[in-house]
């Protein structure tokens, strides 16, 4: 189906779904080639969790992503595309994708960050190369003219020219020591590439900052997180079930995702091996027992506890209370949404996923995310140390901050409450006094009522309880005696017997007792005994 190359194609590309055929999507890509303003739509096609990739085979997803990438040769690289390209160069062994990524890089000025990845990619792909064309999505075979992943990589290095001078030694090694691994055409390209990079010096490089944003990851709203996370129930490799929030409590957590049926050894298998190394390193560090090291499978229906044990053990994982492989029994969709996991499925089978590792705090908030690019143990450890130190400092600051707040709350109970009790109107005359002081219009909505007296009794009792509790703890009863005496005067002599003089004396006693109660007092060891009354002031 031909699609005209205009803004309609862009709009359609923005609305593709799992129901659209792959040929339709490929035709849309063809239609937007060469139009820079359509970069964003091509970028969306790189995202592993694009809804259009649900219920498609891995090969179809791979080809669509590759075709979109190859189109960036014409449109230029959109901001946010670099993490995807780097991940492909680092870990992919599919020639079509690697070739597309290499080609896409020629749509922009040289980017320093990718240069070290070229040799890695050559090493990944040299045993898995293939005949490729990007001139049409579903070509006829045999191809009369084709490229290969190795060819595209070498062409891109040539394009980078002397900006890629650092690759020279690696390329020479390949031609001198591994020439039998390459056919004539590739050897010729290798030599041409060595010539292209061999002149040292600097060419103009794009500073590439605007490519760095991984716009794919957005942390979920904080206030929803705990509620959503509490719905997630996990089962570990020993078949123990628990809520994920319980596992995260009081610890930092390193969390990565994987699945046992992943057929790329440079992704899940390597990630779990590295996770095992990280866990092992943490055992001998101060962070032992205060950091969880966890892998969660994308493929919970298939990855049973038995599968998890075998998979983990074969990759060096030594399971413990803090080192686990999990599957999600309930709430997987909530977890997937919360973390914006980069994964798509055909039914329950994963058809594409990215590398992703998260560092979470005790509440499940994401402190740091490594997505797409390969993480290494040292990087993760550095981040963990940073967050662990930050946590310790925050606790100290919290204590310092809370102390005046705590003192203030004590003051409230010991001073303000009795004051309120003392000043609360207890009889019609008091009400009359207040009403005349504040004006009828101010307090006229508060009527006098006989039930106010029992309420005052309750408030007074509560106030006395608070003062007594503090007095008991400090073994210093004078404030308690004063407040108690004052309250008795207010209630019995002032309230019941209407002796106003007793009322005023009672108020003074209550206030004095409250003020005395709020002063911080250090209790000496001897003060704990009944006989000793020795006290010292702070």
């Amino acid at each position: 189906m031909k699609i005209s190359r205009n803004s309609t194609a862009s709009a359609q590309l923005n609305n593709i779904s799992a129901h659209d055929t792959e040929l339709y999507i490929a035709n849309l890509i063809d239609a937007v080639k060469g139009d820079q303003k359509d970069q964003k739509f091509l970028l969306d096609l790189l995202k592993e969790n694009n809804p259009a990739y649900q219920e498609r085979s891995s090969n179809v997803v791979m080809r669509l992503r590759g075709y979109a990438l190859a189109a960036m040769y014409y449109t230029g690289l959109p901001p946010g595309s670099l993490p995807f390209i780097c991940a492909i160069l680092e870990t992919e062994r599919t020639a079509y994708l690697v070739a597309a990524a290499a080609r896409a890089l020629r749509g922009a000025a040289p980017i320093k960050k990718v240069i070290p990845l070229f040799l890695k990619s050559i090493d990944n792909i040299r045993l898995h190369d293939d005949a490729i064309t990007f001139t049409e999505y579903q070509p006829h075979w045999p191809l009369l003219e084709n490229t290969t992943a190795l060819n595209e990589l070498l062409l891109t290095i040539q394009y980078y020219g002397n900006a890629a001078y650092e690759l020279r030694d690696g390329l020479l090694f390949l031609t001198n020591n591994r020439s039998s691994d390459f056919n004539k055409e590739i050897l010729k390209q290798l030599n041409a590439t060595i010539d292209a990079v061999s002149v040292p010096g600097k060419t103009k490089q794009d500073c590439c900052d605007h490519y760095e944003d991984d716009i794919d990851f957005k942390p979920a709203l904080f206030f929803n997180r705990k509620k959503e996370l509490s719905k997630v129930i996990v089962q570990d490799q020993d078949s123990n079930d628990q809520p994920l929030t319980e596992l995260l409590k009081d610890k930092l957590t390193v969390l990565t995702f994987f699945y046992t049926r992943c057929d790329n050894p440079l992704k899940c298998s390597m990630n779990i091996s590295r996770l095992a190394t990280l866990a092992h390193d943490l055992v001998n560090s101060p962070m032992n027992k205060s950091v969880n090291v966890i892998g969660i499978t994308y493929d919970s229906p298939y990855d049973s506890p038995n599968q998890l044990i075998v998979y983990g053990a074969n990759r060096g994982m030594q399971f413990s209370d803090t080192v686990k492989l999990l599957r999600v029994k309930e709430g997987y969709e909530d977890l997937k949404t919360l973390l914006h996991l980069g994964v798509s499925y055909i039914g329950s089978v994963v058809n594409i996923h990215r590398n992703e590792l998260y560092i979470l705090d005790a509440e499940g908030d994401v402190l740091h995310a490594f997505t797409h690019e390969r993480w290494d143990v040292a990087q993760v450890k550095t981040k963990l140390e940073e967050y662990a130190n930050r946590r310790t400092n925050e606790k100290k600051a919290h204590r310092l901050l809370l102390r005046p707040v705590k003192n203030l709350s004590k003051t409230f109970y010991s001073v303000v409450m009795p004051l309120l009790v003392a000043l609360f109107p207890k009889c019609p005359l008091c009400w009359a006094a207040y009403l005349s002081s504040f004006g009828l219009s101010g307090l006229s909505f508060i009527p006098y009522s006989p039930w106010l007296y029992p309420m005052i009794v309750a408030i007074v009792a509560f106030n006395f309880y608070v003062i007594f509790k503090r007095a008991y703890r400090r073994k210093y009863y004078l404030p308690c005696i004063l407040s108690g005496g004052g309250m008795l005067l207010i209630m019995l002599l002032g309230g019941l017997l209407k002796i106003h003089f007793a009322l005023y004396i009672g108020i003074v006693f209550v206030l004095a007792g409250s003020l005395l109660n709020s002063y911080p007092v250090r209790i000496s060891a001897n003060a704990l005994t009944k006989k000793s009354l020795r006290l010292s002031w702070k």
Partner: protein
Amino acid sequence: MQAKANVYLAEFKQKLEKSVLKKRDSERSAKVKGLGNITYAQLKSLPMATTEEQIQDLLQLVDDKSKKWDYRALALVKTGTALLEQEEIFDKVLLLLQDQKEDSRFRMEVLDFLKQSNFIEATFNKYMPKYLNVLRQLVDDPNPVLRDDVMAVLAKKNDEYVQRRLVEGLKIPAQALVSPERAIQLLGYDIHANQFPLLREIVQNPPNQLAKIEAVRILAVDPDSKGLLLKLLKDKNELKQVRSYSALGVQEFDPEQYIGFAKDAIKDKKEYDDLKSLILVSLNQDEKIPNDSMGKEFNTLVQSFKTEEVSEDLMKASVSYRNGLT
């Protein structure tokens, strides 16, 4: 004196070895030089070629279309790993494979030779793009045996093109390149090929019984199919093989239901012995379901099987199962 004698002896041994090797080479060359008249048996007795001259002579035999196809194929095999070291030879071999005018048996042998050479991955893989390019062309070859073989090679590599053609063939029989059961088998190499929904449809409306059996065999690894598998397992009108494959899937993804079925099946005198023995073997091997947990009634029944009443396989399975009881 002794030392001198030893030196002379060592030198003599070296010279003797050299002359023996030279003689062998000259004999081999003499044999290879006269290749035009060499018989099949003689060709077969020749060692693998080591020199360029020998390789070229053998290739001449390969190119000689007056010779029989098996003779030419054997000559090709005798070139050994030459095609890995010389790209021209590899290209030549690919042309032979593509040439539809060649005897299809010869082409099959050429393909086999290439497949064997593929084991030496480090050097073969530099030619992989060319190789795959030609193989994909051969997916439409008129010879069905060659076509099947080529598609198997591509399917094992999880090739996108062959997967697409196989799925097209299952959906539109007129476009089928191989039989439906073979297509399903080939798709089964890659669990990511999105074949499970299609296979579930095929199970409901199979083009033939073999296709249904293959489909169930592959669906046994799909957790989303456990409902269908349980239904097939319980249906006594289903083929034995379908029920056996279904049992494996249900055991893996719905062990509770499997235990329930197992208990009923062992009691049922009309149930196949084959299925009963499969149940006992699978339970015996399943660490998640200890034999003792199956219940007294089940275990008593198993222990009561008599040789004259049940099949030999079921008897053996019940003995193993009983050994698993504490």
